[in-house]
């Protein structure tokens, strides 16, 4: 991935807000062992490659530094990676119990 990402591109950056040793004491053990990480998006200020440290200007005009992780970041969720058929049975069951229905 040596392609240059042009300045002005809309990108996502990542940074570590707090390293594990900087985190507060009142945390569960599993959380204590990992850093507090941050992601945000904005317009790349200078040409750069992925995984390089960059500066972006966010949509509100803030300047934020971080590691370039993605270009034109897409939304990575939807209606689930698998269909859950159990839900169908709920509709069948409640319609059967109520039956007929009523005219409003």
């Amino acid at each position: 991935m040596d392609e240059v990402v042009k300045a002005g591109s809309y990108v996502q950056i990542h940074k570590v807000e707090l390293r594990p040793e900087e985190r507060t004491g009142k945390l569960p053990e599993d959380t204590k062992q990992v850093p507090l990480e941050l992601w945000t998006k904005g317009f790349l200020q200078d040409d750069a490659k992925l995984n390089e440290d960059v500066i972006i200007k966010t949509i509100t005009g803030r300047t934020v530094e971080g590691t370039l992780v993605s270009v034109n970041p897409r939304y990575e969720y939807g209606f689930g990676e698998t269909y859950v058929p159990e839900l169908l049975q709920v509709g069948i069951q409640v319609r059967e119990i109520v039956k007929g229905g009523i005219i409003r």
């Binding site: 985190r23 599993d30 990992v34 941050l38 949509i59 803030r62 689930g80 698998t82 859950v84 319609r95």
Partner: protein, 478 residues
């Protein structure tokens, strides 16, 4: 001079940053000991209920339909003892501009941010509230930053929260996403300090005053539709503001006999700050993981004193299971033709359980719905759960173990009323109130305050203080 941005330095500037970001000084409400002047805090909103209605009307917020769920009521009656099965009504809050009641909560804050001349507005939230603030900010052309707790350490995000990110961005807001942990507050403070933006806290007096219109509308709509006030209003309870604002609004409408119930999804055993547990829950709000700690310790939020004080208004607190809420969400779509988000249906699930125990002529109002769609509806939620190793099956709701399985009730009669232990919560509230100010004694004023906050009698408060070995400074009559 460059500011010290280390964790300890930023947290030490907490009060100073918040004072600037809220445009108000909370110190004036403090008594110097346990008590604080809640009604003075609420009065300082500076608007009457009628003025808030006008502010909300100007941004398309409020005046949502109240709908009777006849088929759901019919379902409850089919499985209830003869004569039981109260009528269930629902306030279709998804009709607000950003799709939830949270627009009410955001509207007054956004109005104030603009009026006070702030350059922008910010909020720390992973929920519908972010979308509400972003939407209100868009209407006022204010820049907006939303800070979300979103991912676990594998950068796996809750689909529901990812959808909120998209929605906020669709309104032109910047979204800052974080991994799990309460130090989100540190990042949030840094952003407030850097930007000088207004803190549209969920727990500010503006936020709660904005929800009062919801309770007020429900009472007036019930009077118009059925000629009387409802017997019970049920509010999904997380941070407590929804219930607090609704209850206050109902009282302002003169409904002194309507009972106010809270409802939360049972997530007992899952830690809200755990990286591992984060994606093992299928509800990101409306659950006991927020509902319990915020009710018993309201003043640990992002404002010095929270205006959300649910124990002052809650007549009962009903607990439902994740599988039950998915079941009722599906039922709402299949029997009523209304596809609405799962978390907001927490109170609907509790209403369905409660209806089976009340007489046919009694009225229950569920005070919200929320929008649904990608990331939010039961399909993505349950698919995500299955992907994360959660077992999904039909069975007995009482056997559900949060984080291990989701049990869809094998019959709607499995959906039963379960009560939280309010007295235990109230004792915990008293302990936290004492610890909050590191009190070593309690005055007569403190005791009266704790009685009002918990709606318990003098003995209950005094006994709890005695258990904590708190010195009582009460004048003794001789």
């Amino acid at each position: 001079m460059k500011q010290d941005i280390s964790y300890s330095a930023v947290m030490a500037r907490d009060n100073e940053i918040m004072k600037k970001a809220l445009g108000m000084n909370y110190e004036k409400y403090e008594s110097g000991n346990i008590a604080f002047d809640y009604e003075a805090l609420m009065a300082d909103v500076g608007f009457t209920l009628e003025e808030i209605i006008e502010i909300q009307k100007s941004s398309g917020v409020g005046n949502t339909p109240l709908l009777e769920l006849r088929n759901l009521t019919e379902l409850a009656r089919k499985i209830s003892p003869k004569g039981k099965g109260a009528r269930i009504f629902i306030k279709d809050e998804q009709c607000n501009p950003s799709g939830s009641f949270k627009d009410r909560r955001a509207s007054v804050s956004a109005y104030m941010a603009k009026k006070l001349g702030y350059k922008g507005i910010a909020a720390a939230t992973s929920g519908n509230y972010g979308a509400a603030v972003a939407s209100q900010a868009a209407m006022l052309n204010l820049p907006c930053i939303i800070v979300q707790e979103c991912f676990d350490s594998r950068k796996i995000g809750q689909p529901e929260i990812l959808e909120k990110q998209r929605k906020c961005e669709s309104y032109g807001a910047e979204v800052v996403q974080l991994t799990v942990g309460p130090e989100l507050f540190y990042t949030y403070l840094r952003i407030l300090e850097d930007t000088g933006y207004f803190n549209a806290s969920l727990y500010s007096n503006y936020g709660i005053a904005g929800v009062e219109t919801l309770g007020y509308e429900i009472i007036n709509q019930c009077r118009a539709m059925i000629g009387r006030e409802p017997d019970v209003i049920i509010a999904t309870n997380a941070g407590g503001g929804n219930l607090t604002g609704t209850a206050r609004g109902a009282l302002k409408a003169g409904a002194n006999h309507t009972l106010i119930y809270g409802a939360s999804v049972d997530l007992a055993g899952l830690s809200m700050a755990s990286d591992h547990d984060f994606n093992r829950k299928s509800f990101t709000t409306g659950h006991t993981g927020f509902g319990m700690p915020y009710a018993t310790d309201p003043d640990h939020s992002d404002v010095p004193r929270s205006a959300a004080r649910p124990l002052m208004y809650m007549d009962d607190y009903l607990i439902v299971k994740q599988g039950e809420v998915f079941y009722i969400t599906e039922t709402l779509a299949q029997l009523e033709g209304m596809e609405r988000g799962p978390a907001g249906n927490t109170s609907l699930t509790a209403a369905f359980a409660l209806a089976q125990t009340l007489d046919e002529d009694q009225i229950i109002v569920v005070q919200e719905t929320e929008y649904t769609g990608a990331g939010k509806s039961p399909q993505p939620q349950l698919s995500f759960a299955r992907q994360n190793g959660i077992e999904i099956k039909f069975g007995d709701s009482d056997e559900e173990i949060p984080g291990a399985n989701i049990i869809l009730p094998d019959h709607p009669s499995r959906i039963k009323v379960r009560h939280a232990d309010l007295d235990r919560m109230k004792k915990s509230y008293i302990r936290k109130s004492v610890q909050h100010v590191k009190a070593t004694f309690a005055t007569k004023e403190d005791i009266s305050y704790l009685m009002a906050e918990t709606r318990k009698d003098h003995d209950f408060v005094v006994n709890t203080l005695n258990e904590m070995k708190i010195e009582l400074k009460i004048p003794v009559l001789k």
